[in-house]
């Protein structure tokens, strides 16, 4: 996931090569990826070990299990609608709730010194607890099912958003806030046109971290207890020694991570277009 072309460190604004250089870089990356997959394919085929399957076999298994459905269902199979969609739904709703709550709380804490004094130690305690450790607590409170899983995801992923929103809102440039004051911007406009955009770079960094974490929390919460979902399929694979299914789930999680990250990067680029622009100072 970290080698994703759209978000890899080599394409950050400072080190971006010329257009021609970029094409070569992209080709080189694809080449490395292709070589790795080819090596994996050749190695596993040669070894013939039943626990390590060749990637082509995994990919075709994934295709037939989840993406071989009728066009009317967007090519999703019954297995996909029964497991993939519920997992994604829980993950995205948990992430969305955590995002809204985290930004709202974070901006409030970041801009109100009194609230910061009261809440900050609580925030540091909350983020210090490893989120998976709380899954048993949610299991206890909600029993097995969607509410438990969503709650675990929310609680697991809210911390990066919260901490980054606090930081971003607190450190909005004093020039921006003083200008807002000088022009008597009403509080609502000050929030939506100055504080939130000013804190947006940090907020986006938090959201991106928590999106990756949401995938982790989705799987962990489903491992802990679920009646459907990708994690549940993984549990099935484990109990029935279905090695092929296990590899397919791993592959699917990898693809999901890449796709989600890429979609987020596209959205972030749009929202933060002003930030990547060169600062003309004279």
């Amino acid at each position: 996931m970290s080698a994703l072309p759209a978000t890899g460190p080599a394409t950050t604004a400072a080190a971006r090569p010329r257009a021609g250089g970029r094409t070569y870089l992209l080709l080189a990356r694809l080449l490395v990826l292709a070589a790795a997959i080819a090596g994996w394919q050749l190695g596993t085929t040669a070894a013939g070990n039943p626990y390590f399957l060749p990637p082509a076999q995994i990919a075709s298994g994934m295709y037939h299990r989840w993406f071989d459905g009728p066009a009317s269902h967007l090519w999703l199979t019954a297995d996909a609608t029964a497991n993939l969609l519920p997992s994604l739904g829980r993950m995205l709703s948990g992430w969305a709730i955590a995002a809204v709550a985290g930004v709202a709380l974070g901006v409030a804490i970041g801009r109100l010194p009194l609230l910061a004094d009261l809440a900050e130690s609580l925030v540091h305690f909350g983020r210090a607890v490893p989120p998976p450790a709380l899954v048993p607590v949610f299991l206890f409170v909600f029993k097995i099912g969607t509410p438990m899983e969503v709650a675990a995801i929310i609680f697991g992923v809210i911390w990066p958003v919260l901490v980054n929103s606090i930081d971003g809102a607190r450190h909005v440039d004093a020039g921006y806030t003083e200008t807002a004051r000088a022009f008597r911007l009403p509080p609502a406009q000050r929030l939506t046109r100055v504080i939130l955009p000013g804190a947006a770079p940090k907020i986006c960094a938090g959201l991106r971290l928590s999106l990756a974490l949401a995938l982790v929390m989705m799987i962990i919460s489903e491992f802990a207890g679920s009646t459907n979902g990708i994690g549940n399929e993984m549990l099935t694979a484990q109990s029935t020694f279905d090695i092929s299914l296990m590899w397919q789930v791993i592959g699917l999680l990898g693809v999901l991570g890449i796709v989600l990250n890429a979609l987020f990067a596209v959205a972030e680029r749009r929202v933060l277009a002003w930030q990547r622009a060169p600062r003309a100072t004279s």
Binding site: A182, W274, A277
Partner: protein
């Protein structure tokens, strides 16, 4: 119209400005000049109501300033931190109108005053009619749309007046520094201020651009007669732009002297600065800023007959 009485501001034990008193008349352009660290910006922030004074007071049109007064506009030195990079040029200029229209929405008279363009005024009048007639959700959203259009029209007119008519939909960071400061001036003009405060507004641009911006300010000032307080460390600028120059001492800033500038209008970067009178005023202000005494031969005060005397 602006009266500053014994204004003092301390930061902890450090006294930034001490016992500053001054008066600015309606439509006057007063420049404040002083060595760096003399508390010029502190003075301006106190006058703007952005910073509460430690003692003394600021009175604007008979009302003591305790918070940022209505119809005040500020142009800051650092345009890159006062224009919002996430808003287009037009949206930046329209931003203070948001405050004006919000407050004006329940008091019709204010909105009318904030709009000069007749077409915009008609639209504002029709908005008011709509707001009186209906309270349905639809009417409210229609009003919001037409208010936005009205704000944009005012912003475009303000941009036109600073020579940036074609740049409304650009972003500040796509413009040069001088153009960005023009945007900041347009934003200040858009809210039709009664008092315009400028904090070293041309300090961050190159010399040529600086002259252009000074002339822009003088032109706008001649057209609209906005009472203006301009803080600068540039002695030439203080004399060239000001009707009156107030010289502050090194920190803590106190008023060392006031120098009336009787250079004729319209002023011109070349011919005005060619005048003997300009050179004399510049020298006088320079000495006051540095605190060096005038040589015995130099005239200590402005002598009126010399004022209209052209340089050879």
């Amino acid at each position: 119209m602006l009266e500053v009485t014994s204004l003092t501001r301390a930061f902890g034990n450090h006294l930034a400005i001490a016992d500053i008193s001054m008066q600015v008349a309606e439509g006057e352009l007063v420049t404040i000049v002083g060595p760096s660290g003399c508390g010029k910006s502190t003075l301006l922030r106190c006058v703007a109501g952005l910073l509460p004074p430690t003692s003394g007071q600021v009175v604007l049109n008979g009302v003591p300033v305790t918070r940022v007064p209505d119809r005040l506009a500020v142009v800051f030195q650092d345009y890159s931190r006062s224009l919002y990079p996430w808003l287009s040029v037009a949206a930046n200029v329209a931003l203070p109108l948001l405050a004006a229209t919000r407050r004006g929405s329940d008091r019709g008279s204010r909105r009318g005053r904030a709009v000069r363009d007749p077409a915009v005024r008609d639209r504002a009048a029709s908005q008011r009619a709509v707001s009186q007639r209906a309270v349905s959700q639809r009417a409210v959203s229609q009003r919001a749309v037409s208010q936005r259009a009205a704000r944009r029209a005012v912003a475009l007119a303000a941009l036109e007046s600073v020579g940036l008519g074609g740049f409304a939909d650009r972003y500040p960071w796509q413009l040069s520094g001088g153009m960005q400061q023009r945007v900041a001036i347009a934003r200040a003009l858009a809210c039709e201020p009664v008092l315009l405060l400028m904090d070293e507004p041309f300090g961050a641009v190159d010399a040529q651009t600086r002259e252009d911006l000074e002339d822009l300010l003088l032109r706008v000032q001649a057209e609209r007669h906005i009472t203006t307080l301009l803080v600068t460390h540039d002695i030439d600028e203080s004399v060239y732009a000001g009707d009156r120059v107030i010289v502050l001492t090194r920190g803590p800033g106190r008023v060392r002297a006031e120098v009336a500038v009787d250079l004729p209008a319209p002023r011109d970067q070349i011919t005005t600065k060619e005048r003997r009178e300009f050179a004399r005023l510049r020298a006088e202000v320079s000495r006051l800023v540095r605190g060096t005494p005038a040589p015995a031969s130099a005239p200590p005060e402005i002598s009126p007959p010399e004022i209209f005397q052209q340089a050879p």
